[in-house]
């Protein structure tokens, strides 16, 4: 019986490229910006979420 091949490093970390990853990263960034009380960061997070939400347009 041969052991199943282990996934390559690039395949292992492919989940980072999934659309959910940046979406949840933005949630964390927004929470961090709110915690820090930074209006500029909050606004940047809002802009990034708006920009990423249009991803289906190309």
């Amino acid at each position: 019986m041969t052991p199943s091949p282990s996934p390559s490093p690039s395949a292992r970390f492919r989940w980072v490229l999934h659309p959910a990853a940046p979406a949840f990263a933005l949630v964390l960034a927004g929470a961090q910006a709110w915690w820090a009380g930074s209006v500029l960061l909050l606004v940047a997070v809002a802009g990034a979420a708006a920009g990423f939400a249009n991803s289906g347009s190309t």
């Binding site: 999934h18 659309p19 959910a20 949630v27 990034a48 979420a49 920009g51 939400a53 289906g56």
Partner: protein, 170 residues
């Protein structure tokens, strides 16, 4: 991709500048509570739309990438990025860019609209970067389509909450 990203940033900054200047007058003349209520009245249907609970069309200039842009290489990428950054030459599956624009006019102070633009350009750039890194066959778009029912409401809640928090903190 560098030229596309630069074009995105220029386009987004241009629109944000116009919105910020256009919003300077109402932000001075109209009391903050009235502007905040108006923004809230806009945000609720957008949030419901993004969560799939409400359906309505948003203004969009539904045009595909023209063939000649691809032949112009760097300048083509810059031009196309600029046009997409303005949001005036693309399909708009989401109403969040429209909400962000409304926020720039109604509740976001002028200096902060440039951060809104930079964030928008970065978020818009993420898609081709992720797609190219995922595969060469464009299959990321199918991954996006499968993830959309989860990702779209998360992005809508994040965007709206961040705008409201920014509005209240400003």
């Amino acid at each position: 991709m560098r030229f596309f990203g630069t074009g995105l940033l220029f386009g987004a900054v241009l629109v944000a500048s116009v919105a910020g200047v256009a919003g300077a007058l109402p932000q001075v003349l109209v009391p903050a509570p009235a502007r905040e209520i108006l923004f809230g009245l806009l945000a609720v249907p957008v949030l419901l739309r993004e969560c799939g609970l409400l359906r309505f069309r948003v203004p969009e200039n539904g045009r595909l990438v023209p063939e000649d842009v691809r032949h112009l290489r760097r300048w083509g990428a810059l031009q196309f990025g600029f046009e997409m950054g303005t949001g005036m030459r693309t399909f708009s599956p989401s109403a969040l860019p429209h909400l962000a624009l409304a926020a720039a006019v109604l509740v976001i102070p002028l200096p902060a609209v440039f951060m809104l633009a930079a964030g928008f350009a970065a978020g818009r750039l993420a898609m081709p970067l992720l797609s190219n890194a995922w595969s060469d066959d464009g299959s990321w778009t199918r991954v996006w389509a499968r993830a959309e029912p989860l990702v779209r409401p998360v992005l809508a809640l994040t965007c709206t909450a961040a705008l409201v928090a920014g509005m209240l903190a400003a």
